[in-house]
């Protein structure tokens, strides 16, 4: 089987320069990552900041060498055959400020197209076409320094698609964009892949909803390791046999968490304080466990304001795998009140 992207026990360790005596001298950014992406897939890499998503993309786009393991893009080795990979890939990163402010949108895009060997005529034709699609046609002759962040990001997205890459890497492409712009970009990405079913996209994101909406398959990554890899539906189905409940409770203090920890059948719970109340997210082995939870809350004089059973989301999958929400991992603490049974 020919894969668009294939990694085999891929690892990357950074040496930390100038580190102090008792602090770690190495940072493990990726550890033993083995993935296979089929041609025509929109493959998502979902994980919090610092999970290793960008490191993986840098390796696959030949910007960074792995410490161990192998990575192939369209069958070419990223280290030994980088010159064969570069003509057939492109990359767009979120929050990019690439290009030259003094040049217009068209000139910036034309310049990058030349680096890929496109004729000027073809480049200009595609520029006009793609700018029309993303809604930037009226700014084609605007200097890129005069564009807002969102419009600049749209220009960069066009840059990525301009060269008609076989494999496109999108590293948090909607980072920093407003809701409308993000929606436009996601729609554009999906449409492009639908129109070019033989192309492949690898998308990294830490927005669950984006991964669920766009991706054919998702790999959940945390601290350099791939924890799970499957379609969003299958990943959520893992939790289907568990019961997921969302409660709003009156007490913000978590003095009752010890009581909850003692209850058999609670796989995970998270307590998030809000303004005047708290949200309790529960993953239970079975629905029957809920009664014990309600009893424990009642005994501790905690009033239940709202209770609903929900369908699992990728957020729940992440919590199930990692033990904390993505938000808490990013905050670098133990979460509001996480617990494992």
């Amino acid at each position: 089987m020919n894969f668009a992207i294939q990694t085999n026990h891929l690892s990357r360790i950074y040496k930390i320069r100038g580190s102090k005596k008792n602090s770690p001298r190495e940072l493990v950014a990726l550890q033993d990552v083995s993935l296979e992406v089929h041609p025509g897939e929109l493959f998502g890499l979902l994980g919090p900041n610092g999970a290793g998503k960008t490191t993986l993309i840098k390796i696959l786009t030949t910007l960074l060498a792995p410490t161990s393991g192998t990575a192939l893009v369209c069958g070419y080795d990223v280290v030994k055959e980088a010159h064969n990979i570069r003509p057939i890939i492109n990359m767009v990163s979120g929050g990019e400020s690439s290009g030259y402010g003094l040049l217009t949108v068209r000139e910036n895009l034309w310049m990058f197209a030349q680096f890929y060997g496109l004729s000027s005529k073809e480049a200009n034709r595609r520029i006009a076409q793609l700018l029309e699609v993303v809604g930037l046609a009226d700014r084609i002759n605007t200097k890129s320094s005069d564009l807002s962040t969102g419009l600049r990001q749209k220009m960069n997205i066009v840059r990525g698609f301009l060269t008609d890459p076989q494999v496109l890497f999108l590293d948090e492409p909607t980072l920093g964009l407003d809701v409308g712009a993000s929606r436009d970009v996601r729609r554009f990405i999906r449409q492009w892949l639908d129109d070019h079913p033989e192309r492949t996209i690898l998308l990294t994101t830490h927005y669950m909803a984006e991964a669920e909406e766009l991706c054919d398959r998702v790999a959940i990554i945390n601290q350099g390791r791939v924890l799970a890899c499957d379609t969003p539906a299958s990943l959520k189905h893992r939790l289907q046999r568990e019961a997921i409940y969302h409660l709003e409770v009156s007490q913000v203090e978590n003095h009752y968490s010890e009581h909850l920890k003692a209850i058999q059948g609670i796989r995970k719970f998270l307590l998030r304080p809000r303004d005047g109340y708290a949200v309790l997210e529960l993953i239970l082995d079975q629905d029957e466990t809920l009664a014990a939870v309600v009893n424990a809350l009642t005994e501790n004089k905690v009033r239940i304001i709202n209770l609903q059973k929900r369908e699992p989301t990728l957020e729940d999958v992440f919590v199930d795998l990692v033990g904390k929400s993505m938000e808490d991992v990013e905050r670098g603490n133990n979460g509001a009140n996480p617990s494992e049974s």
Binding site: T61, T62, L63, R86, L103, E122, T163
Partner: protein, 281 residues
């Protein structure tokens, strides 16, 4: 087994090389039309600097040839500054902006990218140098008498080729640097003005020091140009013009070859150490 699907038709390797050179030169050429502050920073300020040295020479009773040396040297500093700031440390600035990763990832060679930067920079700088020469020459009544135009052109061409080749070599070294890039570029200004004899005939440094300094292409280039442009300058020359032409040709070869080798080596090293995209300030 590698698999690819047909994509847009793209240029073969030589065509890609030249397309890249032209595309990368484009921002530099267009940039100077759109951002006119260079007229102040790259013409007026250098002329002030030249004026300072001219007045020093006049105050100490230097022969008039020295005024001409200063004007010519001052005009040529534009090229050294261009090589330092727009070539050597340019990849650091590109890294800061996020363009470097896109250049490395593109199928075009870094040599083509740097050559485009060099050509664009050279064209922009040539304009500045000519304006400084004219204004400086007029202000301080310097008489330029070109004794051999074609040799002068050859010397200028070889000097620029070798100089920008050196710039490309040092650009690859700067790939590994971070914040210190700015400071090292800053450090390389005055010492080079000194040992290359921008403001005085380099032979006054002594034979061996002047010979060592000749590794900087502007040393021999400037020395030869002075001999060709000022009638009595031959007595102040370090080496015969013909020897300097040969020397510059050798430097061209060494620096261009060195640039090619170093670029490949430094790119590989940067990829291994992860220095292409980090932005450590």
């Amino acid at each position: 087994m590698a698999t690819t699907v047909p994509t847009l038709p793209k240029a073969s390797s030589w065509k890609l090389f030249f397309k890249t050179v032209f595309a990368r030169a484009y921002p530099r050429i267009v940039g100077q039309q759109r951002e006119k502050s260079w007229m102040f920073f790259d013409i007026f300020l250098p002329i002030l600097s030249i004026a300072a040295y001219v007045y020093v020479y006049r105050a100490i009773g230097a022969p008039e040839e020295y005024i001409g040396f200063v004007v010519l040297g001052g005009a040529m500093t534009a090229f050294w500054l261009n090589v330092l700031w727009s070539m050597s440390s340019q990849l650091y600035w590109e890294k800061e902006q996020g363009n470097l990763a896109l250049y490395i990832m593109a199928p075009s060679s870094m040599m083509a990218i740097l050559l485009g930067m060099a050509l664009g920079g050279m064209i922009a700088t040539l304009l500045r140098a000519i304006v400084i020469l004219f204004i400086g020459g007029w202000l301080f009544q310097v008489r330029f008498v070109v004794t051999d135009f074609w040799t002068l052109l050859l010397v200028f061409f070889l000097t620029m080729t070798a100089l920008y080749g050196l710039g490309m070599m040092s650009a690859s070294l700067f790939l590994l640097l971070s914040r210190e890039a700015w400071h090292l570029a800053n450090l390389a200004q005055e010492p080079i003005y000194l040992i290359s004899g921008f403001y005085f005939p380099v032979k006054n440094l002594g034979f061996w020091l002047a010979l060592s300094a000749s590794l900087i292409p502007l040393t021999m280039g400037l020395d030869a140009m002075r001999q060709l442009v000022f009638p009595s300058a031959a007595q102040f020359g370090f080496l015969d013009v013909r020897i300097e032409v040969i020397g510059l040709s050798v430097l061209c070869f060494i620096f261009l070859l060195g640039a090619r080798y170093l670029l490949n080596y430094m790119e590989k090293l940067s990829i291994q150490e992860g220095r292409l995209t980090e932005s450590r300030r």
